[in-house]
Amino acid sequence: MLKTMMRRAGKCAAVAAAGLMMMSAQAAEPIKIGSFLSVTGPASFLGDPELKTLEMYVEKINEEGGVLGRQLELIHYDDVGNASSARNFASRLIRSDQVDIIVGGSTTGATMAAVPLIEQAEVPFISLAGAVVITDPVKKWVFKTPQTDRMAAERILTDMKERGITKFGLISGTGGFGSSGRSQTLEVAEKMGMEVVADVTYSGSDTDMTAQLTNIRNTKGVEAVLNFGFGQGPAIVTRNYDQLGMELPFYQSHGVASDSFLELAGSSAEGLRLPASPLLVPDSLPDDDPQKDVVQNYKAEYEARWDSKVSTFGAYAYDGLMLAVRAMEEAGSTDPEAVRNALENIKGYVGVTGVFNMSPDDHNGLDPESFRILEVQNGEWKLID
């Protein structure tokens, strides 16, 4: 009798010991965070700050003890802005590196190329790209941190309406950002009962948009002008706008919401408005703004670590990583299904880009109000709303 009891106890102890060993082995194993970003190539202005942000905060989290008692390991590949290599690297992250979660995809093309694979492999994925197609329709495993271009359009048009404007001229670039923004603006305008009286475009290599702007100026009933574009184009449009002496209220999109745009456009930018991340005006946010601390800290830490200007795109990566960490903490494990469910139920996460309220029908979790309307005054951004 005693013998059998002893034997049983021994067995129990052995099982417990084995269990403990397994747990400690698991604790030693890092959580793998996979990422594919366009660090070089034409979209490097997106991928570069995103990668820097991820590296810096993975380091920081590890110094503070990691997540769930485990260290984070960042596995990163550069897709050079090419959708098919993004797909290949996503495949490599999932199959060869067997990552627990993916935070990446700088461009919409890169993200969408990887989506079918990720959906099939059932790995949680937080995209850093803008277009509305990524989360609309909702895909089970795909989330994203930037606001959609649709929200930007809604935010701008709402501001116009508040100023009593109902008819405006639209000038947009033919690149991915501009053309997607154009179609969203047209849809939103129709929904809000506003009229796009002039609709002109320019290509990325154009060096003068006077003709298009003259066209808009000569259109009857135009009350404001909106430019949806990316890169140099909007700066040229802004300069031409000033040269033509146009007095109508002028709007730009979030695509140029950066300090370098102010340098490019110079004094011509005076008086224009655009929707932007609070990151551009961290110090003028009201003290009761829940994002104020997060935004100021991110800016300070990034600029101290990398000795370069902070950018809104890096903030997308910050929010992506923090959402991932929070989801894993709430799930209490790295089990993909549990992490996914936790991600979907994150409420009130205060990030740099905005306050995220995820739900099963909304894998972005932001609202148009997360954009702040800024106006250029005396060569600086001024918070309007």
Binding site: V39, T40, A83, S84, R87, N88, I94, G109, P116
Partner: protein, 335 residues
């Protein structure tokens, strides 16, 4: 006699088939299968391009345009209009063939740099159209492409199939499919090269004037091979689109055209098996260099430069020359 002749022509093909059979032994996951499948599809494309560049001596810097047209035709026909895959693939190829013939006739009158410039322009125009026709192609953000499907039977790299009682994964099925396509593409190219057409092409490569003096209709043969290589590109573009499941205008970009040409030059112009090696090396390079991402472009350039300086004939021809030289030396020493 006939037997021996067949052996000499098919020896390379049998060797390639053997390699394709052995490769899966070294693959452990679907990511690696995916890479090899892409290599096979791209290799078949450059086998077609090599007919034009390596054998007829005409440079095309716009071949990704045809590749992209095939990919987008398939994407739009199967995705937007619900066509079955095979008719979409064939109609796309015929359409691209006609386009290549129409633009090829005047273009191929040009020589040297002018010809390169003209093909470059064709590629650019196609890329611009794909970028701007947002309603049709989804613009720069790209468009999804459904899985390859024949009579309701889908070939998806995510599915599982049982074949003759053997369970195979979708990505393995794709690998087998792409391997067979590559073998057919190589077989067709080898036959074409050995045919009177192939001889005419090589005479054009040697000297166009001499070829026309001895009665070769150079214009006809040049546009014929241009059309054939464009059809190769279109067919492979369609398969590539089905395999990836998502395409962006990057498949028709200038960079992609350059990649194709580089595969031909690196592997060995005029060597059908060489260009397959070229395709393999250049497709794997970004994956191998993934850990040196800052240096990737530099390494890429360095490898190309060294190849051009030390192996101007390309990888495979140079390697086989070295091996056969060694063998001869050895044989000579023994005798």
């Amino acid at each position: 006699m006939l037997n021996r002749f067949m052996q000499s022509r098919l020896r390379g093909l049998v060797f390639l088939a053997l390699i394709l059979v052995i490769i899966p032994a070294f693959l452990s996951n679907s990511f690696q299968y995916g890479m090899v499948t892409q290599i096979a599809i791209l290799a078949a494309t450059v086998v077609g391009l090599n007919l034009l560049v390596g054998f007829a001596g005409q440079i095309s810097l716009g071949h990704a345009g045809f590749f992209g047209l095939g990919a987008y035709f398939t994407g739009i026909a199967t995705g937007t209009y619900g066509w079955p895959s095979v008719p979409a693939l064939l109609v796309g190829a015929i359409m691209v063939g006609i386009i290549a013939w129409v633009v090829g006739r005047p273009i191929l009158r040009l020589k040297g740099h002018y010809l390169s410039m003209a093909t470059l322009a064709v590629g650019f125009i196609i890329a611009i159209i794909l970028n701007n026709e947002r309603a049709l192609t989804g613009g720069p953000d790209g468009m999804p492409v459904p899985a390859f499907e024949v009579f309701g039977w889908e070939l998806s790299s995510f599915a599982r199939y049982s074949l003759f009682g053997l369970e195979i994964e979708g990505f393995e099925a794709w690998y087998i499919f792409a391997s067979v396509i590559l073998l057919v593409a190589v077989w067709f190219a080898l036959n074409l090269i050995e045919s009177p057409i192939g001889r005419a092409l090589r005479s054009v490569h040697g000297s166009e004037v001499a070829a026309s003096v001895v009665g070769v209709n150079t214009a006809k043969y040049k546009s014929l091979v241009f059309v054939i290589s464009a059809i190769y590109a279109s067919l492979m573009g369609s398969l590539y689109a089905h395999f990836l499941g998502f395409i962006t205008p990057a498949v028709a970009s200038f960079e992609f055209s350059i990649l194709f040409i580089t595969m031909v030059v690196l592997g060995g112009m005029g060597s059908t098996f060489g260009v397959i090696l070229g395709a393999a090396v250049l497709t794997l390079l970004p994956q191998v260099l993934a850990d040196f991402q800052e240096l990737e472009t530099v390494m890429f350039g360095l490898i190309l430069m060294l190849t051009m300086i030390f192996m101007p004939k390309g990888l495979l021809p140079t390697l086989t020359a070295i091996v056969s030289k060694r063998m001869r030396k050895k044989a000579g020493g023994e005798a």
